[in-house]
Symmetry: C2
Subunit: 99 residues, 2 copies
DNA sequence: CGGGATCCAACGCGATACTG
DNA sequence: CAGTATCGCGTTGGATCCCG
């Protein structure tokens, strides 16, 4: 149950993708630049999964060259404060461990 | 940065362990029962990691037979509402996907 | 009861090359 | 620009056995 629900953010770099989209829509190569270590294959896979789960939307523009915009859905955006809370705790734990 | 902070909940069954401890301290075998698919090795590994990160504490009681209690730290407890928020979103996304 | 040691298999990521 | 296909490898989790 918990595991199944937490699966919405599963997969490498999934949270980074969500994080990069928190300020607004981004294109494929913009996301690649935001998350340097990610490979095109994994980014593509992750975007497909997250779109299928309803976390984000994929918007293809019939331009030349092609342009594809990704954006968080309303529910996807609700994940941001939750992730932020975890990051804050992680940050304080790290400070504790070092101090 | 984000990735490094999110690492506090990394590893298989980590969130389940935190979740099982949200209502209070639990012993090793109680956690095994709470999370049936987990193996002793992985539970042991995860508990060590989470203790080292400051998410939970390990309390050995000099009883016979031995008893070891695990409990969330204050910071570890702060992860619970965040995880709960993600679970809620996951639940609603699942409902959307099925409906 | 609460683990550590060992071995193994599988999933998933990364790199590279190619395409519409 | 925005992907897909293929391949190889490394990490990690699972199963089993054993111990204080």
């Amino acid at each position: 149950m918990l595991t199944h629900c937490m699966a919405v953010i599963s997969g490498a770099w999934a949270v980074n993708v969500i994080w990069s989209l928190r300020a607004g829509p981004r294109r494929f190569n913009e996301l690649r630049i935001d998350i340097p270590p990610i490979s095109a294959k994994v980014l593509s896979t992750r975007l497909s999964e997250l779109a299928q789960r309803g976390v984000l939307t994929r918007n293809v523009r019939a331009t030349m060259p092609p342009s594809v915009e990704y954006a968080l859905t309303d529910l996807g955006a609700e994940l941001v404060p939750a992730l932020d809370a975890i990051v804050q705790v992680g940050h304080r734990l790290k400070a504790l461990g070092e101090g």
